[in-house]
C-alpha cells in the first residue's frame, strides 16, 4: 500500500527532516509511527499527501508513484487517501453533514448518493444525531470523529491519522483509536502517527519508531520503545 524507497526530505538551511527512509506497508495493515517531536513523523504524512515533495527517493502509494506528481494530480491523490489531523481541520462555517459531504462533492458525487452515504458515515463514528450542528458546538472528541467520517467518505484504502488523539483526553483518545481499529477491521490500511505511549502499547500492532529522521526500529507487534 505504501512504499518508501530511500526517501530524504531536506529543507533550506540544510535541515534534514527524514533521512534515507525505506519502508513498506502492506494493504490492510495497522501501523503506528512513533517518535519524539521533530523525529520526522508528520513529514512522512505530508509527503504521502503530496503536501511536500521528497528531496530524494521514491514514494509509491497504492501502486501510484507520486514522487514527481503533477500539481493538477494532487487532488486526485487526496481523494484516494483519508487523512485525520490533530487539529481536526473542519470547515467552521459548515455543518457536520456539510463537512463530510464536502469531501464527496469535490469529486462530483451525485446528490442522492451523498444524502444516503453521509448519514451512514456519521453513524459509523456515532454522530448520526449531530448532523445539523456546527464544529464549534461539538467536543474535541466529537470533532475528531467528524474528521474520521470525512476521511472515510471516499472509501479510501489508506487512512493517515496524524496525531489524531493529540488534543484529546484519554477517554476520548481511546474512543478514537477504537473507531480506527474498527475501520481497519473493515480492510482499510491505517497509518497512525502518534507519540501516545499507552495507545501504541495497547494496540499490539506493528510499530515503526523514528528518531532524528531515521527508522530506529520496526517491530511487527511492537511497543513504544523511546
Amino acid at each position: 500500500m505504501i512504499h518508501l524507497k530511500g526517501v530524504t526530505k531536506q529543507y533550506p538551511g540544510n535541515i534534514v527532516a527524514i533521512r534515507n527512509i525505506t519502508l513498506h506497508i502492506e494493504p490492510g495493515e495497522f501501523v503506528s509511527v512513533v517518535g519524539q517531536s521533530g523525529a520526522g513523523k508528520s513529514t512522512i504524512v505530508r509527503l504521502l499527501m503530496a503536501e511536500e515533495a521528497a528531496s530524494r527517493g521514491r514514494i509509491i502509494v497504492g501502486g501510484w508513484d507520486i514522487t514527481g506528481i503533477k500539481r493538477r494530480e494532487i487532488p486526485v491523490l487526496r481523494r484516494q487517501i483519508g487523512v485525520v489531523f490533530q487539529d481536526y481541520k473542519l470547515l467552521r462555517k459548515k455543518t457536520i453533514f456539510e463537512n463530510v459531504s464536502f469531501a464527496l462533492e469535490v469529486c462530483g458525487e451525485p446528490r442522492q448518493k451523498i444524502k444516503t452515504l453521509v448519514p451512514q458515515l456519521l453513524k459509523i463514528v456515532g454522530l448520526e444525531n449531530q448532523q445539523r450542528r456546527f464544529p464549534d458546538q461539538l467536543s474535541g472528541g466529537e470533532q475528531q470523529r467528524v474528521s474520521i467520517a470525512r476521511a472515510l467518505a471516499h472509501r479510501p484504502k489508506l487512512l493517515l491519522a496524524d496525531e489524531p488523539t493529540g488534543n484529546l483526553d484519554s477517554l476520548n483518545a481511546q474512543e478514537i483509536v477504537d473507531v480506527l481499529r474498527k475501520i481497519n477491521e473493515l480492510g482499510t490500511t491505517i497509518m497512525l502517527v502518534t507519540h501516545n505511549r499507552d495507545i501504541v502499547n495497547a494496540l499490539k500492532k506493528r510499530v515503526i519508531t523514528l528518531d532524528h529522521g531515521e527508522i530506529i526500529s520496526d517491530q511487527a507487534v511492537g511497543r513504544y520503545v523511546l
Binding site: 493538477r72 487532488p75 487526496r78 487523512v83 481541520k89 470547515l91 462555517k93 464536502f102 451525485p110
Partner: protein, 305 residues
Amino acid sequence: MFYSIWRIIKFSSTNIWRNFWLSFITTSTIIITLMSVSLVWALQIGLKQIISSAEKRIDMSVYFYPSITDAQANSVITALKTIPGVQEIAFVTKEQALANYEKMAKDSPELLDPLSAIGQNPFGSSIIIKTNEPSAYSGVIEELNKPQYKDLIEGQKKDYEENRLFIDSFSAFTNKVRLSGLIISFIFAIIAVLLIFNAIRVAIYTQREEIAIMKLVGASNWFVRVPFLIETAIYSAIAIIISGGLFFALLYFVQPYLGIYFGGDVDLLGYFTDNAVTFLGLEFIVLASLNVLVGSLALRRYLKV
C-alpha cells in the same frame, strides 16, 4: 460538471450568509467606494456642463461704421468664416439695429427723442460671432486687427485686446478646471482600486484556513477558486445596486437645487438617467474585472497546499 456548477453557486451563497459580518463589511466598503467614485464622476460632469454653458454664453459683437454697406460687411463675414473654430456669425442689419433699439427704448421717450432729432438711422450694421471654444476668438481678433478692416469697424484696437485678455484667461481657467477634475478623478480611481483590492484580499485572507482544508480533502483549485470569485461578484452586484440606488436618490434630491443655482444648464439627473446603463455597466465591468484579478492573485497564495 452540472453538479459542480450548482454546488459552487450553493457554496457561494451559503458562505455569504454564514460569513454575514465579513460579507456586510466587504459590501459596505465597496458601496462607500462606489458612492465616492460616482460623486467625483458627477462633479466632473457638473463642471463640464457649467463650463460648456459658460462657453456658449460667450460671443463677440463687431460694429461697422454706419456708412458701411451690407456688401462690405459680408466680405468681413466671408473672411471670418475661414478662421478655424468659428461656429456661427449672425448679421444684424442697420434696420434691425434701429428696430432693436426702438423696441428696447419704447418706454423711455428720452432715449427715443434724439433719434427723431437726427432724422435718420444712426446705427451701423453689426455681426455677432460665436466659436466652438473660447481660444478660437484669438484667431478672430487677429483677423479683425488687420489694416484692411481699419476703416470698416468701429472701436479701437484696445477693445479687442481687452476682449482677448478676458477670453484667454477664461480659456486658461476652464482648461485648469478640466485638468484638475481629471487629476482628482484619477487619484480617486487609484484610491478606489486600492480600497476594493484590500477589501477582497481581507475577505479571502480571513478564509485562508478554510481554503487550505478544502485543498487537503481533495478539492481542485477550480473548485476552491470559483466560489470565492462568485462570492466577490455577488458582493459587487449588491454594492452596485445599493450604491446606484443611493446615488440616484441623492441626484433626485439635489437636482432641484442645482436648477435654482445654474438654471437648466446643469442637469445631472438627466445625464445619469440617460447614461444609467453605461454608468452602472461600466462600474460593474471594472469591479468584476478587478475582483477576478485581485481574487485570483490573493487566492493563488493559499492554494499552494
